[in-house]
Amino acid sequence: MGRKLLTEHINVEGINTFEVYRKHGGYRSVEKALKTMTPDEVVEEVKKSGLRGRGGAGFPTGMKWSFLAKPEGVPRYLVCNADESEPGTFKDRQLMSKLPHLLIEGMITGSYALGARTSYIYIRGELLYVLRILEKAIAEAYAAGFLGENILGSGYSLDLHVHPGAGAYICGEETALLESLEGKRGNPRNKPPFPAVQGLYARPTVVNNVETIAAVVPIINEGGDEYAKLGVGKSTGTKLISACGHLNKPGIYEIELGVPVEEFIYSDEYCGGIWKGRDLKAVVAGGSSVPILPKELILKNAAGENRLMTYESLSDGGFVTGTMLGSGGFIAMDETTCIVKNTWNFSRFYHHESCGQCSPCREGTGWMEKVLHRLEHGHGSMHDIDLLVSVAKQIEGNTICPLGEAAAWPVAAAVRHFRHEFEWHVTNPKEATAPGAAYRGTAVLA
């Protein structure tokens, strides 16, 4: 049983209230930081912890913080990205609903480290009920003197607000999020300038995921070195994994990074195996954008070693035989799953969510959706399979934000590992389009 740094008290009755949260050690990191540490010392601890962005990119948080421009007399912002929208990912919703004060505590400590005097939590609009939970908790924190003027007599002041989106996956991209927070369409900005220099209202801004900000709390409480002792290598600390799809026990699991994938899927401590006594066919390990892997390659890497739930182990083999930890959105598919249908579904998602600014993405995602639709429905040709790979290649790297890659990678990986299944849809359309049909042949492992 691994340590739980974020969710240890998640089931305590009333933990969503300030009083109970405080009784269980809540807001200690704020006291410690504001009373005994300089802002730079807080940044230093986060650097030492090895914490990496938990939203999907895995960029070192301490380094991101140290890039923030600090011109004299210019306000700067910390913005929490609570626009959780990556298919397969649902950890932040759970964390904010049950432990609103953990996020608020992390926002205060983080804002102090960055010198922000106003901070925002940008939450996806579908989660308005969570916004209300957060607003109530923020009001409690103001009343207790942890927000507002001169927090705990330290001389540091902070205002914290929650801001809803309104249904747009692209707003999880940090510059689209900032546009949206300014009351505009969520069109990603060209970079540079990066948000660290010109972000919200053209002021220096750091945007961090909910779980990243929450992790700052145990890092400050226990020290960056202690946090870094958990995990394996450069994958330090704990990670929330959203487990879904054909599992016996889907849900949120806080794991110490380094748990073997096989143990995560099959042990009763975690997902309890594949539902209905079926066999596992494939896994999308880090949210819909990361490459899909067949069972053989998700359990063991190409060299036959056990795959671990870490950034490095999951990406071992690059995009030929590996994938990514991403956001920790872990989607398991049983042997009855049609990979072509699933790939079409994901392509439809990216086409729907493309903001339309860059033509390779706007047009390319539509092409992939259409080609996959005809393959899935038995009207495709062998040429279509290569056409998919070609379109994916032409999107990748040719857009101003990563939605292009996010749309291209799953298609490229599905064709790479499940080409036989795509071909079967072309050669045996009747069989392939029968209700409940699923190809049972072998996957391509190299």
Partner: protein, 190 residues
């Protein structure tokens, strides 16, 4: 006296006006346009679950911005309904993880029992069916959202019936700030 035929201009209720005033304090004074998305949410809740052109013009007037600045935003985000909707808008998640757990079957079932097709409203005006992309509750699939509430694990006819029974007696009203709308069952027992 001649009966007046001019449509009455929509007005925000006093409660909504107070909430808008509070929201505007969250942003720098010269950046009040930031409040556009939250105010559109309030408007949609106030005026029957959708934002008509007249309501959008009211939002523009409230913020002192051009109507086009509201239209270009309302048409970008999928949560704003730009056409009149039924009493209950059922937003069915159709993305991969929900599909793996039966969202296609759920959609077909809902079409059968509500009499509405996806993208349209039932003849009696009670239900509008709308397919949406990932709602971030994949572990509790399949899912339907109705206004602020998530209905989860709708993988049996009984679960769907329970949702529809609850909706029967539900009257939608604008929700006040800080009012908790309740956790979905999945979040009660973590």
């Amino acid at each position: 006296m001649e009966p007046t035929t001019a449509p009455t201009k929509p007005q925000f209720s006093p409660a909504a006006q107070a909430e808008i005033k509070r929201l505007l304090t969250h942003y720098p004074e010269d950046r009040s346009k930031s409040a556009l998305l939250p105010i559109l949410h309030i408007a949609q809740a106030e005026f029957g679950g959708w934002v008509s052109p007249e309501v959008q013009d009211l939002v523009a007037e409230t913020l002192g911005i051009k109507p086009i600045e509201v239209y270009e935003v309302s048409s970008f985000y999928t949560q704003y309904n730009l056409k009149q909707v039924g009493k209950h808008v059922l937003e069915i998640c159709r993305t991969g993880p929900c599909m793996l757990r039966g969202s296609d079957e759920l959609t077909a079932h809902l079409e059968r029992i509500t009499g509405a097709k996806v993208g349209s409203t039932s003849p009696d005006g009670t239900f509008t069916l709308k397919e949406v992309e990932c709602l971030a509750a994949c572990g509790f699939a399949p899912i339907v959202q109705v206004r602020e509430k998530y209905y989860e694990q709708l993988d049996t006819p009984e679960a769907v019936d329970a949702m529809l029974n609850e909706l029967k007696s539900l009257v939608h009203r604008p929700i006040l700030p800080w009012e908790e709308t309740g956790l979905p069952n999945s979040l009660k027992n973590y």
